[in-house]
Symmetry: C2
Subunit: 608 residues, 2 copies
Amino acid sequence: MWSVIKRYLIGKPLKTSEEGDQKLGRFKALALLSSDALSSIAYGTEQIVLVLATLSTAAIWYSLPLAGLVLILLLALVISYRQIIHAYPHGGGAYMVSSENLGKTSGLIAGGSLLVDYMLTVAVSVSAGTEAITSAIPALYNHRVPLAILIVVLITAMNLRGLRESASFLMFPVYLFVAVITLLIIVGIAKIALGMAPFHATATVGAIVPGITLGLLLRAFSSGSSSLTGVEAISNAVPFFKKPQAQNAAGTLALMGALLGFFFAGITFLNYWYGIIPVEKVTVLSQIGTSVFGKGFLYYLLQFSTAFILALAANTGFSAFPVLAYNLAKDKYMPHMYLAKGDRLGYSNGIMTLSIGSILLITLFNGETSRLIPLYAVGVFIPFTLSQTGMIIKWNRERPKGWFTKSISNFVGAFISFSIFAILLFYRLNEIWPFFIIMPVMLFIFHKIHDHYQKTALQLRLDHSVPIVYEGNTVVVLISNVTKVTNQALNYANSIGDNVIAMHVSFDENPEKEAEFMIEFKKNYPDVRLVNLHSSYRTIIHPVVRFVKLVEAKSTQKGFTTTVLIPQFLPKKPWQHILHNQTSLRLRAALVAKENIVVSTYSYHFKK
Amino acid sequence: MWSVIKRYLIGKPLKTSEEGDQKLGRFKALALLSSDALSSIAYGTEQIVLVLATLSTAAIWYSLPLAGLVLILLLALVISYRQIIHAYPHGGGAYMVSSENLGKTSGLIAGGSLLVDYMLTVAVSVSAGTEAITSAIPALYNHRVPLAILIVVLITAMNLRGLRESASFLMFPVYLFVAVITLLIIVGIAKIALGMAPFHATATVGAIVPGITLGLLLRAFSSGSSSLTGVEAISNAVPFFKKPQAQNAAGTLALMGALLGFFFAGITFLNYWYGIIPVEKVTVLSQIGTSVFGKGFLYYLLQFSTAFILALAANTGFSAFPVLAYNLAKDKYMPHMYLAKGDRLGYSNGIMTLSIGSILLITLFNGETSRLIPLYAVGVFIPFTLSQTGMIIKWNRERPKGWFTKSISNFVGAFISFSIFAILLFYRLNEIWPFFIIMPVMLFIFHKIHDHYQKTALQLRLDHSVPIVYEGNTVVVLISNVTKVTNQALNYANSIGDNVIAMHVSFDENPEKEAEFMIEFKKNYPDVRLVNLHSSYRTIIHPVVRFVKLVEAKSTQKGFTTTVLIPQFLPKKPWQHILHNQTSLRLRAALVAKENIVVSTYSYHFKK
């Protein structure tokens, strides 16, 4: 039943050998690896303006210098990630770089942050995508949480079916978005140049805004820096590039940085010039779109390509999370189940975990992007800081050619990332505190798991002692009455056993039945040793377990193994299971928990 | 965890031998066996008046002649049940009497009707009890469904704890109710006699009510006859009486009949004289109480003793249903699980089934007594008719002294019961139709179950052929890698096996790992035959099952048995289970479903 539904939703299992292998050129790589970064301009400017507008709309002009700061930050990150690309051509995720250079704990902090952050990537991207849709279709506004969950479920299903991140059709929405945003900026500036869009800013640059504080500006800056999330994606994917891999990857990263910078600057400028004020139900980008394009075809194209690239950005979470979970599981910090591939060759357990986590986040934060952003930012800039710091250590240890320049550029990256983290910590602790509860809990769990796997491996290690040769074996057969099953179970027991004991449990309430059974058994099996146990309660489990443990002790003394054989009926139709007592299942569970006892199930199959 | 909660709610298990045995005198028996019958006067009169008032309040005077008819019916039923008491001193439920004299199908119809009816007994009694409470405390009116469900849950818990129907404290509410109702009738009539309660009837007896039809009167009569439910209880409980059992039981039945008749007549008369009109939120009995006692202590005593005896009436359902289910299960028409006694010596499965069924009914019918009554009546009068008819057949077959008189009195009982059934069928089909869907479904299920148990017994019967002596046995051990577990599992396999095969599954994705394993295994176990299976998919189940079936075919040819040994890890703490793949469980399930294969579990217990 469940397997039929599963087949229908997920598709038939694929052979392991069907896994493809395809290398990426720059053009395709840009599309496939930059959706997370590029899509963040859909909410980046808005996040800055939102914070500033809490003081007054006049403060919005500050978004221009803040955007400048973000662009400097972008430049620094691109330069330092190019270093990582060259240093880790096999793909250097923050988890690996930090573990290798700063020690396991830093690696685990980076890894744990990223696990949470991928959930936030999905939650933020899908929430922002939903906002793009509801800006265009206001009627859907009240259904945005279910809509967002629906989108997550669709992306999950596609990934369980085995959507490759490399699927060519995924390039289309990225380049469409790039084209539409480029058009938006060009048309917007052209309109200004031609005098068709008069200056509407809420206050000109340099205007004095009463009440402005450094804290507010830093909070706005930290929100805007969320536009930089996703920059690291290319550095993790170096092995998927065509050769020369490092050069191609570095080139793609530079191109992506340029696009991102241009878009972010352009949108922030248009927002300032057109005097857009953030409102509740329509995104800032949507308002800019209306001002520049009017409410025509191009506006709707803008909204839907925005929604689409945001869905794609969420999808990058679905590529990255299972791989990171796989790496943590391989290092024995997460359960082995994250190592297993599903029917369609995806890491289904990772996909499902991410899906459930992000749906939880969307529900918890009511699908509001701006409430998710601070957590998202802290989750990004901690691993950024750690991996950049790791790189400094690496350069200092290895001292390759030009190591000092390399160190400096990574230092700038680390410093900026850490600064944003510090800003978040000082000015937005009321929003990011859950992170500091989740992180220690995750570290604790990672270590508990690691500890268990370590102990397991030690206990299982072969110690090359002389193999034990047992003298024989004792088989205890559970008999409830004298039937064909008894016959066959005893025949089987004789085939494997040196010492066969039939065990029967009698209940106090029916002494005649007990006597009857004893006579019938002795008549049919005069040679088999029968032990009749009495149960004062209405359960066979306790007396059986007690008796079997006695038998086991004796057997072990003699150098015998002990096997308990439990006969079980298998009806022809599943509904008939309810007609038979399932004592055997509970008895199995109780006996399996005892040491030195092998539990065997003899199944009697009904023909009718 | 669950077992701790269970212990707390239900109490510690009792020994089978702790079951008590206690015989009932008339005084105690009257209290314990008549709560169902006596409590029905709480709603009996109301049900007649409710139907009449749908025409006009003037029609209420008809309740007097209709009550007369009900009293005649009561007399006939008491006489005919006295016959059953004498004929079936071991307790003659409708299921047994009908099965024995009319054939199995009639017995099953009677049994099935009663199973449903006991659920209705609980639903009706608890609903009526809740109405008695909400009449006195109107604030609870909107919470009557949860209140009713709470009462059912409490009664269920008491029964699971092993409340004996014979518990002496249960006598108190019955005699309290008897005393309060007697007082109500005496005070009510005294007030009339002393002229303190002027004649207030809506219309005097004999007044012509326009629009009155035979149909309406019969519908009112059929509702009123619901007061007669519970009359059969004493005839089912003859074995619990002190000796001479039959005489004591018959005497108790007569006494109960007299009380019931007196109460029913008295309440109907007071209702008429005081001119009570049924209203939505206050029961008729509560209104009579207010008129007679005023809203003082006696009024509240009336309401709460009414609620209490109704809860007790529901409790009789909890005694009767599990016993009937036990009898049906003994005859193999219901699953064996209804034969098993729970920790506290009650038939827990029957108790739980009844509880769930009645909660479902209360929820479905929104706790409205009047909507449940017609179904309740049809479920009672079908088995009444069948068992009375069965008695006629019995007298005619056995022809004891006075058989003809006996036959006549049972004929009258059968005739009246059948007439009420016919009235319900013709005039209230729109309310009782679900019964005619449930009944055939139940009969179908009874027969399906019986059929299965019959076939099972036939298949299991020992055919005294020569026992097969197997030549030896093949043991297939599932090996995933070379560890201590491998060592121990192979040692065990050698202890029982004549032919041990190690079986390993390799996945296509990792050929180096495969070669490594092969070398390590051969180095450690040069003498063990190793079979390496390839899986194109990421599952071991299909290749293992395919291979084991091949081995089984060969073994069977050689006269060998086949055992599959699956090693399994048992972590020290339950949470650690999630850290180990549970493939072994799924593999067990797949192999157990195959014939001629015994599945053994070798458990490796982690110490740390």
